[in-house]
C-alpha cells in the first residue's frame, strides 16, 4: 500500500455568502482557488453540493461544475431553500446562510414529496440536476424527480423502506413531532465568547473596558474567530484525510482478499485436474489393464430374470 504524500495546506474556498464569517471570494477568483485544491478535496466539495463527482473525468470539469453550482445557489430563493430543509427535516439554524442550506439539501434523499411547496420542489429539482424551466406544475416536477431517480436506486430505496417498516413495526416506533424546529442560531462571532458580548459594538466594548481594553478585546475576538475558523478547517481536512485513508485501506483489503481467493481457486483447479488424471489412470489400471494391485479384478455380472 502506498501512502499519499501530505498535500501542502491550502486555503479552503469560502462560500459565496460568507458562511461562518469567511471572507467571500469574488466570483472571478473562486474557480482559480478551487483549481488549486487536490482532487479528493474537490470530490468532497462536489458531494457536499450534491454533484456526482464520478461524472467528471478531469479536475477542470469538476471545478467548472462546482463554480456553476455555487452561482446557481447564489441565485436561489432562500425561503424556497428553507422549505426544502423543513420538508427534509435537516437540522440547520434559522440564521443559516444559503451556502449552508444548500449543503444540507442534498442530504435529504426522500422521494416522498408531500408537504413540499412548488418553489421548494423547483429548488430541489435544480439541486438534483433535474432540468426545470420554472413553468412546471407540481405533478410535473414530481414526475421529473422520480424519473431522474433511476431503477436501481428506486429498488434499493423500496428495499430499505420495507426493512424500515419491518423494524419500525418490530420495535414500535413513536410518532415524531410533526413541527420542524430550527437549531439554535449560530453566533456571529464564532465559538468564542471572549472579548465582550456577542454583537456588541466597539463603542460598547470601549465603554465597558476602556480604549485599550476595548480595542484589545476586539482584536482578541477577531484573532479567536480567525483561529477557530482555521481550526475548523484543519479539523475538517484531517477528518477527510482519515476517511480517505480508511477508504484506501478498504480497497486494499478487498483486492488482497480477491487475490487470495483467486490463488485458492487456481490451487483447487490444479488439485481437481490432478485428481481427474489419477482417476483416469486408476480406471485404466483396474478395468482395462486388469492390474488392481491386490484388488480383485471386477467381473461383469449378468443378471438373468
Amino acid at each position: 500500500m502506498t501512502m499519499e504524500r501530505p498535500e501542502p495546506r491550502k486555503q479552503l474556498p469560502g462560500p459565496p455568502e460568507g458562511g461562518r464569517g469567511h471572507s467571500s471570494p469574488s466570483s472571478s477568483e473562486s474557480p482559480r482557488r478551487l483549481a488549486e485544491l487536490p482532487r479528493d478535496e474537490l470530490d468532497y466539495l462536489a458531494e457536499e453540493y450534491g454533484l456526482d463527482c464520478t461524472r467528471f473525468k478531469g479536475a477542470e470539469e469538476l471545478v467548472a461544475a462546482l463554480h456553476q453550482r455555487r452561482q446557481l445557489i447564489a441565485q436561489m430563493d432562500r425561503e424556497a431553500m428553507l422549505d426544502v430543509v423543513k420538508w427534509g427535516r435537516r437540522p440547520i439554524p434559522a440564521n443559516a446562510t444559503k451556502e449552508q442550506i444548500a449543503r444540507e439539501i442534498p442530504r435529504a434523499r426522500s422521494m416522498r414529496f408531500a408537504g413540499l411547496s412548488a418553489r421548494g420542489l423547483i429548488v430541489l429539482a435544480m439541486l438534483r440536476d433535474v432540468p426545470v424551466t420554472g413553468k412546471e406544475t407540481i405533478p410535473d416536477l414530481v414526475k421529473k424527480l422520480k424519473k431522474q431517480e433511476g431503477i436501481f436506486t428506486k429498488l434499493n430505496r423500496k428495499r430499505r423502506a420495507f426493512i424500515g417498516s419491518l423494524v419500525s413495526n418490530l420495535i414500535g416506533e413513536q410518532p415524531a413531532d410533526a413541527n420542524y424546529q430550527f437549531l439554535p442560531p449560530q453566533p456571529e462571532s464564532g465559538r468564542s465568547g471572549t472579548g465582550g458580548a456577542a454583537g456588541a459594538t466597539i463603542k460598547q466594548d470601549i465603554e465597558e473596558s476602556g480604549l485599550f481594553g476595548g480595542i484589545a478585546g476586539r482584536i482578541r475576538k477577531s484573532a479567536d474567530q480567525y483561529l477557530n475558523q482555521k481550526l475548523d478547517e484543519i479539523e475538517a481536512r484531517i477528518d477527510r484525510k482519515l476517511d480517505e485513508i480508511d477508504r484506501r485501506l478498504t480497497e486494499w483489503r478487498d483486492k488482497e482478499i480477491a487475490n487470495r481467493i483467486r490463488i485458492l481457486k487456481i490451487t483447487l483447479w490444479a488439485s481437481v485436474i490432478v485428481a481427474a488424471l489419477a482417476l483416469v489412470y486408476s480406471y485404466v489400471k483396474v478395468y482395462v489393464v486388469g492390474d488392481a494391485g491386490g484388488a480383485p479384478t471386477p467381473t461383469i455380472r449378468k443378471i438373468d430374470r
Binding site: 478498504t250 481467493i261 485428481a275 481427474a276 489419477a278 483396474v286 484388488a295
Partner: protein, 92 residues
C-alpha cells in the same frame, strides 16, 4: 527390480510435499499476525481493533463468484476422491 508405480509415487509425493508446505506457510503467517497484533502498546491495541473492524466490514458480495467456484471445485474434488476409492476397491 522393484515394481514401482511411478504415477502413484508422483501423486503421493506431490500431495505430501504440497500439503506440508502449505500447512507450514499458513501456520507461519498466522503466527506472525498473532505475534504482531498481540502487542500491549496502545497503538497496537488501536490497530488490533481496526483490523478486527475491517474484518467485520468485509462483504462477501464482492467475491461471491470466486467463492462459489471454489466451493464447486471442492465438491468436485471430494466426488473424485470417492470415485477413486470405489474404482480401487473394484466396486464401480
Amino acid at each position: 527390480m522393484p515394481d514401482v508405480d511411478y504415477f502413484q509415487l508422483f501423486r503421493w509425493s506431490l500431495g505430501t510435499v504440497v500439503t506440508i508446505y502449505a500447512t507450514v506457510i499458513t501456520l507461519q503467517s498466522l503466527w506472525g499476525w498473532y505475534v504482531w497484533l498481540a502487542g500491549s502498546d496502545k497503538y497496537m491495541s488501536l490497530l488490533r481493533r481496526y483490523v478486527i473492524l475491517q474484518g467485520l466490514r468485509v462483504r462477501i458480495r464482492g467475491f461471491w463468484g470466486d467463492v462459489a467456484i471454489s466451493g464447486l471445485l471442492c465438491v468436485a474434488f471430494l466426488l473424485m476422491w470417492r470415485l477413486h476409492g470405489l474404482i480401487e476397491a473394484g466396486l464401480l
